[in-house]
């Protein structure tokens, strides 16, 4: 059993940070898909089975809130596990999001915080990391 994951963020750097953290978390990983906005994310969801999506809010083309609405309205994806990873600090907006059955991580976050939320949501205990060392590692 492994998890297929979708990372939706308009920043390539942030997608890379999230992806690296997932690989270090000891989560059994399948495929990690990436999307730059809500529209791209919906395309990925159309064609692939995804177990968990990490979604930014402020994005061009289609923002995260609209994406989450689409996901929850579609019977194929309505139960998708979602973690919102955003700078969003407005209680008004966060409350509205939480009603849509999502977890929330506030940016800036440390990799450890992200791992904790992901492991909590997937029910996986911290385990062996899947990053192989390279020559630069100690």
């Amino acid at each position: 059993m492994s998890f297929n994951i979708l990372i939706v963020d308009d920043s390539a750097a942030m997608r890379s940070i999230i992806s690296k953290t997932l690989r270090l978390s000891g989560l059994p990983l399948g495929e990690i898909h990436q999307a730059k906005n809500g529209v791209e994310a919906l395309e990925v969801l159309e064609e692939n089975w995804v177990d968990l999506a990490l979604v930014d809010i402020n994005m061009p083309v289609m923002d995260g809130e609209t994406l989450i609405n689409h996901v929850r309205e579609n019977p194929d994806t309505e139960d998708l596990a979602i973690i919102v990873v955003s700078t969003e600090s407005s209680e008004t907006r966060i409350e509205k999001l939480l009603e849509k059955r999502v977890e929330f991580i506030h940016k800036p976050f440390t990799p450890e915080t992200l791992r904790e939320k992901v492991c909590h949501l997937t029910g996986v205990e911290y385990g062996t990391s899947t990053v192989s060392s390279n020559n630069f590692d100690f």
Binding site: D10, S11, A12, A13, M14, S16, I17, K20, N58, M59, P60, S86, T87, E88, S89, S90, E91, T92, R93, K107, P108, F109, T110, F136
Partner: protein
């Protein structure tokens, strides 16, 4: 307002960039020729723009730290990394200024080739880091 810029910037650089910004009492602006700037436009309880300017020599380090890379990071990724730092500073600073109920919509980070603001900023924060100097400027329009 200045306090919010200082707090949000220190938090963001520490958590995301593993860097240690110290507020700088020297209020001389950065030289545009040797620095890089990113702007974020926002709309909400009030509208405006946040500009993050850093000495260009810091760009590779910021990206390498964020990504956890020992290898050099390409320029496009360096800009993207700085953009994400600006985005996170902006989101956090605005909620410190306008309160937890306020709602803002942030635009995508824009890399600035020159600083074309004609108005004076509403607030400025200057920082010294081991890797170089940085400053954050906040411009507001309309209400507030």
């Amino acid at each position: 307002m200045e306090q919010a810029l200082y707090q949000a910037t220190i938090l963001t650089f520490e958590e995301l960039g593993f860097m240690f910004p110290v507020p700088d009492m020297d209020v001389l602006g950065l030289d545009p020729k040797t620095s890089s700037a990113i702007s974020i436009d926002f709309k909400g309880d009030f509208d405006g723009r946040l500009v993050l300017q850093v000495e260009s020599s810091m760009m590779p380090t910021i990206a390498e730290n964020m990504l956890g890379e020992e290898m050099p990071v390409e320029e496009e990724m360096q800009r993207d990394a700085l953009g994400e730092i600006a985005n996170v500073i902006c989101g956090n600073a605005l909620s410190m200024i306008a309160g937890k109920k306020a709602v803002f919509k942030l635009g995508a980070p824009q890399f600035m080739t020159e600083i074309e603001e004609t108005e004076d900023p509403k607030a400025v924060a200057h920082f010294n880091l081991e890797e170089g100097r940085a400053e954050v400027l906040l411009y507001t329009r309309g209400k507030q």
